[in-house]
Amino acid sequence: MSDKLLEVDKLQKFFITSQGTVRAVDEVSFSIVGGETLGLVGESGSGKSTVAYTVVGLHSPTSGRILFEGKDISKSVFKRPKELKKSIQIVFQDPGTSLNSRRTIQQILELPLKVHRLGDSHDRKERVVELLERVELPSDYMYKSPHSLGGGERQMVAIARALATNPQLIILDEPTSALDVSIQAKIINMLIKFQKEMNLSYLFITHDLSLMRNVATRVAIMYLGKICEVAETSEFFASPLHPYTKMLLSSIPVVSEEEEAMKPAKITSEGEIPSPVNVPPGCGFHTRCTVVQGAICSQEIPGMVEVEPGHLVRCHLYPHPYDSDKTGKE
């Protein structure tokens, strides 16, 4: 019975550019409770990274609210209270540029400790050693510079940095996309371990659905700034509903026959992903959808409907919510 740690309510983030208004995030709502991992999946232009950066404060919302532990934090990181910056942290996707190559690992890991005045210089050094040990890196790495480390090791330092202030929520923006499979396995298992030990919540962003299957408690799919489907992981993979979800799932290259069997009937992906500057009217996916329901799809934006408890879809194929009166009676 955990309270909602993070609640995002009708969040919108638009960017004004010379080509027009980019509707990067367009009325996105979701919540995360303590100890769970919400997977946010999408391709280019879906807005998943923008959601992440807005939650963490690198963008300030155009409209909508972000609540953390009940308090409204919908502002840029510079306007947020310092305490908050201990509680919400982020791991970026590119290990090459998320650590400053002109600083040593020690300096990088000490920064959050210095900013929040956690201990004196001796304490800080001890904590750095402790953090390196947690991510299974040798402690003499602290004298090295990021560019002498491999991509996987850099990402482990980035994770150590995120853990330095004992946060409650960590945003992970494609943390392993640039890494090899064996390193990815190591890092993911480490993240899961930390989550159990520290009761962390993760907002895990990725395009890799196979990874999501093994990491997330709940999965949300985004397309062109909107969430099109949300469900608990096992339910999601057992019965995906949205046509885009099915297209995504059927495009994944897998390695075994059992996995092939899991994929929905092949929906061949056609067409390019529209640019978020030019979002198609009505349902954003209708230009590529194979089961368009007629004029309604290009005219009306479908609402988010709870088709099964905990399973929501935004699609004209599913206009009616499940009948809560009926459950339990049959």
């Binding site: 491999g150 064996s182 890799d208 996995e259 390019e272």
Partner: protein, 328 residues
């Protein structure tokens, strides 16, 4: 009756840096037959791209140098060829697609300019301007780009990532090469677009009867794209097998580890990755380079490099577990 188109034999490549000499390729062995799709799988830094750069002789040299081995194309050793001969081979003999289409296309020239110069310099015969234009637009149409005449006049920046990669494919196939080397061509693309580009590539390769070497770090992708798969680790080819055979019966402990570490759509968590890390090429392990991380390492593994054993017609593996006496 297919013949051997390309054969890499015992290729050794080193790089000279401040700390000393990196021994990157340690005796790479590979063959590609005509009309065959060969997958080359391995993690970052294992030497896949370096090997292919040697095939096209575009290895930056210094600091890289080929210290031993032969690369036979139609039976002739590329490494001993002169510049002129090599120029004939690049383009109409062997062609390449790179990972990042944005980097591979020159931003200040139109697609048309770049495509026509590829056709002009890469073709076996000399063609008139009109013929080149027709071929160029035809190539763009073949990669299913909508409105090819308009794209001909566009600049790369006006196209999306997927479209740019299709242009790269068009450029690579426009010269009708016998062998196409595709270096992680879909790694930077979205999943649904990747699916489209892979299907396109498969279709074209079949149509033109081109051989392909498809480099990737993704086992899933290689399963869709290859007939025969080589697995590479730290500068050596450690396993090679017919695709179905490899996925149902992986032999080398590294291949096992790799397949285990993949997150599966069926769930069940991710197995522990392979312990340890990729060796430093400045001081690589002696003998089999995987032995420090291998759960089944034996005494002889550190003494000499395991030779390639043919466990069956469809399966080769370089591991003492399956043959090859390790010298005492």
């Amino acid at each position: 009756m297919t013949e051997t188109l390309l054969s890499i034999e015992n290729l050794h490549v080193g790089f000279k840096i401040y700390e000393g000499r990196l021994s990157v390729l340690n005796g790479v062995q590979m063959t590609v037959r005509t009309g065959e799709r060969v997958g080359l799988v391995g993690e970052a830094g294992c030497g896949k791209t370096t090997s292919m750069k040697c095939v096209l002789k575009i290895l930056p040299s210094p600091p890289g140098e080929i210290t031993a081995g032969r690369i036979l194309f139609h039976g002739k050793d590329i490494l001993t060829m002169g510049t002129r001969e090599m120029q004939h081979i690049r383009g109409s003999g062997i062609s390449m697609i790179f990972q990042d289409p944005t980097a591979a296309l020159n931003p200040v020239f139109t697609i048309g300019d770049q495509l026509t110069s590829v056709i002009k310099y890469g073709s076996r015969e000399s063609l008139s301007k009109k013929e080149i234009y027709i071929r160029a637009v035809g190539a763009l149409r073949e990669v299913q780009l909508p409105d090819p005449e308009r794209i001909f006049n566009n600049y790369p920046v006006q196209l999306s990532g997927g479209m740019r990669q299709r242009v790269s494919v068009a450029m690579a196939l426009a010269t009708e090469p016998e062998l196409l080397i595709a270096d992680e061509p879909t790694t930077s693309l979205d999943v649904t677009i990747q699916d489209q580009v892979l299907r396109l590539l498969n279709g074209l390769v079949e149509q033109h009867e081109t051989s392909v070497i498809f480099i990737t770090h993704s086992l899933g992708v290689v399963r869709e794209m290859a007939d025969w798969v080589y697995v590479m680790y730290a500068g050596n080819i450690i396993e090679g097998a017919r695709k179905e055979e490899l996925f149902t019966n992986p032999l080398h402990p590294y291949t096992h580890g790799l397949m285990n570490a993949l997150p599966k759509l069926t769930g069940g968590g991710i197995a522990e990755g392979i312990p340890g890390r990729i060796p430093e090429y400045i001081d690589p392990p002696t003998g089999c380079r995987f032995h420090p991380r291998c759960p089944r390492a034996m005494e002889g593994c550190s003494k000499s490099l395991p030779p390639i054993t043919h466990t069956s017609d469809d399966h080769d593996v370089a591991c003492f577990l399956y043959g090859g006496e390790s010298s005492e």
